[in-house]
C-alpha cells in the first residue's frame, strides 16, 4: 500500500506520560527504519500495534510494521487482573 503524496505518519506509544509520538515520512528511508525498529522493539516487549484512523471506526492488529499506516497505536501487554 502506498500513498500518492508524501505524508507524515505517526506512532503513539502508550506510556506513563500519556503517550510518546514518533513521526515518519514514508518516503524517508531513515525515518521509516527508525519507526520499524521502534515497532519491532516494542513488539518484543509484548506491545500490540494497531493501525487506526482518527475517527475510531477503522483499525487492524498489525503483525508487522506498516510504513503506510496513517497512525499506529502501540498498547502495552494486557494482563488479567
Amino acid at each position: 500500500m502506498t500513498t500518492a503524496t508524501s505524508e507524515k505518519h505517526e506512532m503513539a506509544v502508550m506510556d506513563e506520560t500519556g503517550d510518546t509520538k514518533l513521526i515518519w515520512d514514508e518516503d524517508n528511508d531513515v525515518e521509516v527504519e527508525a519507526a520499524r525498529s521502534m515497532f519491532n522493539s516494542l513488539k518484543k516487549k509484548g506491545y500490540a500495534g494497531y493501525s487506526v484512523n482518527k475517527k475510531g471506526d477503522k483499525g487492524e492488529l498489525l503483525a508487522e510494521f506498516d510504513p503506510a499506516a496513517e497512525r499506529i497505536i502501540m498498547a502495552p501487554q494486557m494482563k488479567g487482573g
Binding site: M14, T17, D57, M78, K79, G80, G81
Partner: protein, 180 residues
Amino acid sequence: MIDTTWGCWANSTAATTTAGSSAIWRTWTSDVTTSGSYVMQTQPYRAPVLTPEQIAAAEQRHAELVKAQAEHQAKQKAVKEKAERLLCEHLTEEQEQAWKENRAIFVTAKSGRRFKIKEGRAGNIEEINTEGKAIRSFCVHVEPHNVPDADNVLAQKLALEHNEEALLRVANSHPITPYR
C-alpha cells in the same frame, strides 16, 4: 487490691501463685503508691523554642514542599488530559458522546459480542446481552500500572475490536448475577 487482681490474672490457681507475682505487677505499672492506687504522671506540653533562622528554614522547606506538590499535581493533570485526548481521537462519534456523558463506551467485537468499557483499570469491562443487560465482567488491563486510565480504556477498546480472542484468553471473568 491490685496485688489481688494480678494474682488472679497471672495465676488462676492457688498452687501456682508466688510471692514474686506482686513484685512483677509493681514493676510493670512502675508508679504505685503505698496504698496501691495508680498515679498518672503528666507533663505540660512545651513548644520547642526555635531561632529565627530555624523558623525561616522550616518555612522555606514547607514552601518547597507545597511547590513540589503543586507541580506534581499539574503534571498528573496534564498526563491525564493527554491520555484523554488520545482516547477521544480514536472513538467514534457515538462512543465519544457516551464517554463524555457516562465515562463509558460500548464496543462491538468482530464476533458480534457487545461490551461496555467503563472508566477505570480493572474489572471495568462488561459483556452486554441482547437485552442490554450486563451478564459477565472481565478483569484485564495494561501491564504497567503507571499508564493513565484513559490509555487503558483505549487499549481495551482496540483489543476487543481487533484482538478479542487474545484479550479474553488472559482476562479473569465472572458472571454477573441479578443480585449484584
